[in-house]
């Protein structure tokens, strides 16, 4: 039972972080049709930005806020300068976003060095808490709470606001949204910057969990986010949440019981879902 509680909490904390990264990726792919291989860059820069700010101010929250601001700004600039000319051109999108990933990963290496930098947890969540007889890191509980809060926030945004209404419509037919008199490109910029900010927040929250930030973490975690999008179905909020939970919990369980299969299990799950439901668990058929 103790092991189960530990694995459950670890899996849910991982799922929260994966969700932060995958949510933006999914909506960008579903609504804008953009295959964004630069999404992990925001995660990476979020991590570095938070560590850099925290090293100077000692304030974790300021670091996380700075990471969100840098992520949003990068998303805004990327969309306006690089993504916008490539709408509808998948090959160009892959080349451009992969290029951005490489350039901005190297830039991070140039600025902060190739050696991993230590990342500290906020003092307020640095302890342990007793849960059902086992001791759990408070920081993991904090991550789960953040994941739930962000999910509730995104759900409210999608279902209760005009932006969300346009996003839901845009996932199905951006062209029809335009034909109704809506300048969807403004929403594209907003969604791209918002998705980037979420990924950067994910990076900022991830580095204290693993204890360091290093230049390869963007690409490593991006792969997981892509698997979640494929499993959940692109553009689907419920799919992203369900996919994140599946991948987070399964990854933790497999890593505990049979570590050599930890990576293979994710890919295997993706393959099974693709065969069973090519559009993903909650995806739109034909997208």
């Amino acid at each position: 039972m103790d092991t189960f509680i530990i694995l459950l909490v670890n899996g849910l904390a991982d799922a929260s972080l994966i969700f932060l990264m995958a949510a933006g990726l999914s909506i960008i792919l579903g609504m804008m049709g953009v295959l964004n291989f630069a999404h992990g860059t925001m995660f990476l820069w979020g991590g570095y930005t938070s560590v850099w700010i925290m090293a100077r101010t000692g304030n974790f929250w300021l670091g996380a806020l700075g990471a969100v601001a840098v992520g949003a700004l990068m998303g805004l600039v990327f969309e306006r300068l690089f993504i916008r000319p490539a709408y509808g051109k998948v090959t160009a999108q892959i080349l451009i976003t992969l290029g951005l990933m490489i350039v901005f990963t190297d830039l991070a290496r140039l600025l902060w060095g190739a050696t991993p930098l230590p990342a500290l947890r906020p003092a307020v969540f640095d302890g342990m808490v007793a849960l059902g007889g086992v001791r759990i890191a408070e920081y993991r509980i904090f991550l789960i709470v953040i994941g739930v809060l962000v999910a509730i926030g995104i759900h409210a945004l999608i279902n209760r606001t005009r932006i969300g209404m346009v996003m839901r419509a845009g996932v199905q037919s951006p062209e029809m949204v335009r034909a109704l008199g809506i300048d969807i490109s403004k929403y594209f910029t907003l969604v791209f910057a918002g998705g980037a900010a979420l990924a950067a927040l994910g990076g900022a929250l991830y580095v204290p969990l693993v204890g360091s930030v290093w230049s390869g973490m963007g690409m490593e975690n991006q792969i997981l986010a892509f698997i979640v999008v494929v499993v959940g179905g692109m553009g689907s909020f419920i799919g992203t949440a369900a996919g994140s939970l599946l991948i987070g919990l399964m990854g933790t369980l497999v890593a505990w019981f049979f570590p050599p299969a930890a990576v293979v299990a994710n890919v295997l799950l993706m393959a099974v879902v693709l065969v069973w439901k090519p559009a993903g668990l909650f995806g739109l058929e034909g997208k």
Partner: protein
Amino acid sequence: MQPVLKLENLSSFIGPFHIVQGVSLDVFPGEAVVILGRNGSGKTTTLRTIMGLLRVASGVIELAGETILGLPAHQVARRGVGYVPEDCIVFNFLTVKENLQIAMRKADKETYARQSYALDLFPDLKKAYSRYAATLSGGQRQMLAIARVLQNDNKIILIDEPSKGLAPIIVERVGEALIAMKNSCTLILVEQNFPLACAVGDRYYILNSGRSVHSGSVAELAQDVQLQNRFLSIGS
């Protein structure tokens, strides 16, 4: 009288393919103009070009005397062009209410009054007001696509094959709604269903291989079997 919409030698492409190769037409206030022609003659592409959804190679598109050539679709719509696309695209993950809301260009008293009129025209939509559009039947989806444009103050409404894929009884109801719309709207209707086109239209243009090749009054065309045979292959 100034036409609401004027096309002159319009030409447009889908990718590398030159689909519309010279369409000219005028639509005057209060008219219902039908565009007829065989499959692949460029009817849908003409509407999409007017809407700014396709790249225009050359020609003239004027809305109430002002050029709208080259404007993006959202600006064309904001200038008063309503569009009901082929296959009645409504948003599956939005409720009927939200589908109407998202299409409202203004949230004033007049718009709500027009929305109310549209819902009176299609009582089915009133009953399904809170349901997701994904759960609607083909006929209800078409009604929603039409109601969506009816609530705005449009100079002209472009309707692309509203009868496509619908049961005869539903086509009849859509036809009745289109006839009712004629009282307050200027329409361009692309339609393969000849009886429906005749019931709604005042004048017609026939397209052939991307060109407008014939025009006249619908009442005359309905009598002219030879012309129907020549361009539409529907005469007996």
